[in-house]
Symmetry: C2
Subunit: 146 residues, 2 copies
């Protein structure tokens, strides 16, 4: 009997779904960089501001849940945004454990500059059809739903 070669196909990089997901995520963030450099925000700072542009005031915990970031990541991000003058950080009166993050006027103003970014990103880098975008969106949120 011939020695049977074990089947390692499952370990081929090209057979992984995790890998193109990981690579595409980094690739998109990289493509954002030139636009985000214009308003001097990193990607993480940008998505944080996005939440605040929708909801002026929010607890740090809820913010972290929306962004899928834990406190170890979010704490320095929020401190940087505070230094830049875009947010304030204060403890809640009801519960001193809770940190409330609030948008400032300069933070609100930044929204005006940022509003052109999604469209410019789309026209410059979005090679997907509307149909593909919608499908991708649905599948990704299915993964996140857990």
């Amino acid at each position: 009997m011939l020695k049977q070669e074990k089947n390692y196909d499952a370990l081929r990089l090209s057979n992984q779904l995790c890998f193109p997901l990981y690579a595409a995520s980094k690739e998109i963030i990289k493509r954002y960089k030139p636009y985000l450099d214009e308003i001097d925000l990193t990607y993480t700072q940008y998505i944080t501001m996005m939440v605040l542009w929708e909801k002026e005031k929010i607890g740090a915990k809820e913010l972290g849940e929306k962004l899928y970031l834990d406190s170890g990541t979010l704490t320095p991000v929020l401190k940087t945004l505070e230094q830049k003058g875009y947010v304030t950080r204060h403890r809640s009166n009801e519960d001193e454990r809770t940190l409330l993050v609030q948008l400032t006027d300069p933070g609100r103003k930044l929204k005006e500059k940022a509003v052109t970014i999604p469209e410019r990103m789309a026209s410059a880098c979005m090679l997907l059809t509307p149909d593909e975008s919608a499908t991708l969106y649905t599948i990704l949120y299915k993964i996140l739903k857990k």
Copy 2:
């Protein structure tokens, strides 16, 4: 005439495609962690080994291109894998600038342990139908194709 409110819909986190991509990527890597802990590899080390399991010997530059990683990331990863005894790092004879990374026997052995990971990940975490997986795969590589 009523003051027209500017349309900020494009800046809503829920309207971004980049964000679920970013979040899902991190989420999947997190789900891998328990399995990768068993063989004491990080995700980055794991995908690096994956390439080496397919191609025993490879230049650092080509490796970085396959993994979408630059030298600043790859150099410490390769040094760690060398310390763990899974790879060797040597300069090429033809071109002293080129770093050749080669799989060792322990590195090859690790493949045996790793081979169960993709299937266990799939059954534990993969809530996508085969059809969805295939679609996701295609779209992600379309993004990466650039």
